[in-house]
């Protein structure tokens, strides 16, 4: 461990070895699918081969008769739930829609929609049983795009769906229309010397976590159930599974396994209630795991979208107006991140006149789930490329353009109160000063692009306990899963407060019975909010340690000083010698018993995150293939607890954003069937596609947080697609308005430009 870090911290800011490293490199770490129990059965899910169909009947007799098959369940085995927004645990959710996504009820709404689930003695027998289930479908026309879904007279997916605007009598596929407004855009555009308006289309993409979803359900005859699974939120799994199954929340215990990536996609439930239901029916533990095809077909990707973005600037580069229209694919049930898209689209800039309309639209695709800064990358693809065009029109460096118009403390947000202290401009400056941006890019068909991004971050609730053991070691117990260094960061915070060695702190992730409520690992909240709880719990230990020392010394607690892990009398001198935590730990029994520090937070005053990136590309004009030459990201972390993990989040989000920009897309055929259900066809970046991503951590502390932390997990994915589009423009002169900018799409655009150039030349002759 490095001896010390800057800013007066001893542990925070250093880069200790992670606690879970050895288990993970030796194959011993247990992920959800690695659990096995005596008598365990294997479950499989029958999925609709049709994107849109009425389910006329489901016959299971033949499948049940297959030797080795122990139980089959359909939506008839789940309680009917109210078709309205209701509280489930800590969130409001339409429970009927949630239940219908676990097992289709009456209608299949996407290719891959679960119809039935089987438990059998082996996964192979369960697979065979699926083929013996007879389902009669009445096919309906699939509605695959927001344009088709919004047309008057469009085929309706959910007969009960209504929106406020169209009233209670009109069937619709538009679940919601949101509008955000400031100033007067018509007046604003009048002041503009340059106005750019473009329409963008972005494809549906998947988080691509490589660990497939999994769950082992064990139902006890006493009515209690235990679920082992890989999830971003064990308490979410408990609340939602309880609601879907009609079981009291307290009767379910969720044990979070190690998690092989989530990126937002593991914040809801799919297999978990099925594992419990099948276990209840069979009396055995039941394990379900998804295949890759199931993950792609039937878990929540993020929305494809259509976005129109119009922005105006004066000659000298001042942004005066922005008008945006966004329609996002929600999938089969309402709930796309279009609201977040709308609120982030121009958030980095102080624009006096804004009008943003946003539409949440159901289509015959899987119900979308969160994906790293949900909705913001789509939106930034639009606004950040339009801004690049405006900068070019104005003849201003694109980073200068951002500095001139950038949001800062006091700038009104698209919605809500003005920003507090934020570090947006600092990220722009960091890129401006980076070796990358200062370097010269030369060569044919090469270009450099920059872009910025904003993400809200969230706070929410976390619990933590910190135990001082008799040998002076410390355990930190939290309810947030370790998705990328959580254990190490939380242990570091406790070590910092208690003044102990990081290796004397053991972090543990507890099940839902063993720690207080802790909200989902999402919204970049874990280090911010759970870290806050750990900080307070460690302070609670300090308070108790002082009391104990006071008792031993026959003094008052405020006559004891705690510093760097040492307790000493406030008045130096005398016979009383300072005590370390290790020294007092062995004497706790004599001073009143063990010390357990505890804290819970409902963290307010969250610090929003900004990032700015720079990308160099080389485009092959004959094939349309883009090779990324160099990439750099600057991001405001508030305070980086473990800088390596902050960099890891920056690089990871950027890697995903670059894949989103260049290659990744859901490809549905004209029958609404997903055609790329494997990792060869759903093309995620390999090591050959990515450069080493350079990082610059900016630290503008979040006011109010004891350590100044800002969440760092998400914003890094927001700017990369737009930065790539800008780089491609500067390389080959075409403005891309569709994602992904895959070779066929880019080649088409290059050829179109070439043909236009030739026609112009011919006309001039």
């Amino acid at each position: 461990m490095a001896a010390s870090s800057s800013n007066g911290f001893r542990v925070i800011g250093t880069r200790p070895i992670r606690h879970d490293g050895v288990d993970k490199v030796t194959g011993r770490a247990k992920y959800g699918a690695d659990y096995a129990f005596p008598g365990m059965l294997h479950g499989k899910v029958l999925r609709s081969p049709h994107p849109h169909a009425n389910i006329k009947s489901i016959k299971i007799d033949k499948a049940l008769a297959l030797p080795g098959v122990k139980a089959i369940v359909t939506s008839a085995d789940l309680p009917a739930l109210p078709d309205k927004m209701e509280a489930a645990g800590e969130q409001a959710i339409n429970l009927n829609h949630l239940s219908m996504n676990i097992l289709a009820r009456g209608k299949a709404l996407y290719d891959g929609h679960p119809i039935a689930a089987v438990a059998a003695t082996s996964p192979h027998i369960a697979d065979e049983a699926l083929r013996l289930i007879e389902v009669e479908y009445e096919l309906l026309p699939p509605v695959m795009t927001v344009e088709d879904a919004m047309k008057p007279g469009a085929t309706i997916l959910l007969p009960s769906l209504r929106n406020k605007e169209d009233g209670p009598d009109k069937e619709t596929n538009v679940a919601a229309h949101l509008q955000f407004k400031r100033g007067d855009v018509a007046e604003g555009f009048k002041q503009a010397d340059y106005v750019i308006e473009r329409e963008f289309k972005t494809a549906m993409v998947h988080q691509g976590y490589i660990e497939p979803h999994n769950a082992v359900g064990i139902y006890n005859a006493d009515g209690h159930a235990t679920i082992y699974c890989s999830t971003q939120g064990s308490f979410v799994v408990r609340a939602l599974s309880a609601a879907v199954l009609g079981i009291a929340e307290g009767k379910i215990k969720v044990v979070p396994a190690e998690i092989g990536g989530g990126f937002g996609g593991k914040t809801t439930i799919y297999l978990e209630p099925l594992s419990v239901l099948l276990s209840q029916k069979t009396g055995h533990p039941v394990k379900l795991t998804m295949t890759r095809a199931e993950v792609l077909r039937a878990t929540g990707p993020t929305s494809g979208s259509t976005i129109r973005c119009k922005m105006g600037a004066t000659k000298d580069g001042k942004l005066v107006a922005a008008q945006c229209w966004l329609a996002y694919e929600a999938g089969a049930f309402p709930g796309s991140p279009v609201g977040a898209g709308a609120m982030t689209i121009v958030a980095p800039y102080n624009i006096p006149n804004i009008l943003v309309d946003a539409y949440d639209v159901v289509v015959n695709r899987p119900k979308t789930a969160a994906y790293r800064a949900p909705g913001a990358s789509n939106a930034a693809m639009a606004s950040e490329t339009v801004l690049d065009e405006l900068a070019e029109k104005c003849g201003i460096d694109p980073l200068e353009m951002r500095l001139m118009n950038g949001s800062e403390e006091g700038t009104p947000q698209t919605v809500g109160p003005p920003f507090k202290r934020i570090g947006f401009k600092e990220t722009v400056e960091a890129i401006k000063n980076s070796p990358h941006y200062k370097s010269k890019l030369t060569g044919a068909n090469r270009g450099r692009g920059v872009a910025s991004g904003f993400w809200f971050n969230v706070g929410l609730q976390s619990s933590a306990t910190v135990n001082i053991h008799t040998d002076g070691t410390v355990s930190v117990v939290i309810g947030s899963v370790d998705i990328g260094g959580t254990r190490a960061a939380q242990a570091m915070i406790a070590a910092e407060v208690l003044g102990v060695d990081i290796n004397d702190v053991r972090p543990t992730i507890a099940d839902t019975d063993s720690i207080g409520h802790t909200d989902v690992t999402g919204g970049s909240r874990t280090c911010f909010a759970t870290g806050w709880a750990v900080y307070e719990a460690a302070q609670d230990c300090v308070r108790q340690l002082k009391e104990r020392a006071a008792k031993l010394w026959e003094k008052k607690p405020d006559e004891v000083v705690f510093e760097n892990g040492m307790l000493s009398p406030a008045q130096p001198g005398g016979e009383l010698k300072p005590m370390s935590i290790k020294q007092i730990a062995s004497r706790l029994a004599r001073t009143g018993g063990p010390i357990v520090g505890r804290a819970t937070v409902n963290a307010r005053g969250v610090g929003p995150a900004f990032a700015t990136v720079c990308v160099d590309v080389e485009v092959d004009p004959d094939t349309g293939k883009t090779q990324i030459l160099r990439a750099t990201i600057a991001q405001d972390a508030g305070k980086a607890i473990h800088p390596s993990y902050v960099e890891g989040q920056m690089q990871g989000g950027m890697a995903q954003g670059l894949g989103w920009g260049l290659n990744e897309e859901y490809f549905y055929d004209d029958r609404g069937i997903l055609r790329n259900t494997g990792l060869l066809d759903y093309r995620m970046p390999t090591c050959l596609d990515l450069p080493a991503i350079e990082t610059a951590i900016v630290e503008v502390p979040t006011p109010g947080h004891p350590l100044g932390i800002r969440g760092v997990g998400e914003v890094s994915i927001v700017p990369p697609p737009a930065a790539l589009a800008n780089a491609i423009y500067h390389a080959v002169g075409v403005r891309m308005t569709e994602l992904p900018m895959s070779p066929p799409r880019l080649l088409k655009a290059i050829l179109k430009k070439r043909a236009a150039g030739e026609a112009q030349a011919a006309a001039a002759d």
């Binding site: 490589i210 092989g260 890891g648």
Partner: protein, 231 residues
């Protein structure tokens, strides 16, 4: 990278390890019953894609009468050499090597991710060469030395690469890590002094969605250096 030369006694070993008398409810085969039904069995073998485990594309040999075999569809009992030990497995012939490792032997380090050989997370060594264990039937692994991540090193005696992965923080969620480590350890064995480009080539088939590739490359270079230092 090249595979080790094949054991000349491979066929005999297979014949010795395959135990047709296993009490598993599956079809019992003797040499006699095999000869009686040889035609049908060959057809079945062809249909199921079951090939004599001795098939060697480098040096094709004519199949000997009695060397071909019929397995399945019920469970068969056979032996595998895994991490230096002989393990007896009873599994249907359709079960992959990955399936046997994870579901029958509790060796869950290798991960099931794509089931199509597209991501590298299930990589193990077969006679020292990296293979995707999801793409290989367990019965085809008979007679080969299989090494899994559990056999590469343990917490108290880690392989240089495992040490380097921890030291260089070459993992985020850790799910691709066993496969990455196995691919790289085979590569380092074949080429103890690799360039970054050669390391990239070795893990080009291993997907890391957390984006840790640069750290992985750094760890591989450090491990190679450490190993050379020891030698």
């Amino acid at each position: 990278m090249s595979r080790r030369p094949r054991d000349p006694h491979h066929n005999e070993k297979i014949a010795a390890e395959f135990d047709p008398a296993a009490d598993d409810g599956g079809p019992k085969l003797s040499r006699r019953s095999f000869l009686k039904g040889a035609g049908a069995a060959a057809a079945v073998a062809g249909l199921l894609g079951v090939q004599p485990a001795a098939a060697d594309d480098a040096a094709p040999e004519p199949p000997l009468a009695g060397a071909a075999e019929r397995l399945g569809p019920g469970p068969a009992t056979f032996k595998l050499r895994i991490n230096g030990a002989t393990r007896t497995v009873t599994a249907e012939p359709r079960v992959t090597l990955l399936g046997v490792l994870r579901d029958h032997l509790g060796l869950t380090g290798a991960k099931l991710v794509c089931d199509r050989g597209a991501c590298g997370a299930c990589t193990v060594h077969l006679d020292g060469a990296p293979v995707t264990s999801c793409m290989m039937l367990a019965i085809d692994a008979r007679g080969h030395e299989i090494t899994t991540i559990e056999g590469l090193g343990a917490p108290d005696r880690m392989h240089a690469l495992q040490d380097a992965f921890v030291a260089k923080d070459a993992l985020q969620c850790g799910f691709c890590t066993p496969g990455m480590t196995m691919a790289l350890s085979a590569a380092l064995e074949a080429n103890p002094n690799p360039s970054p480009a050669e390391i990239k080539h070795a893990i080009a088939g291993n997907i890391c969605r957390c984006g840790t590739y640069p750290h992985v490359i750094e760890a591989a270079l450090a491990a190679a250096q450490a190993a050379r230092g020891q030698a």
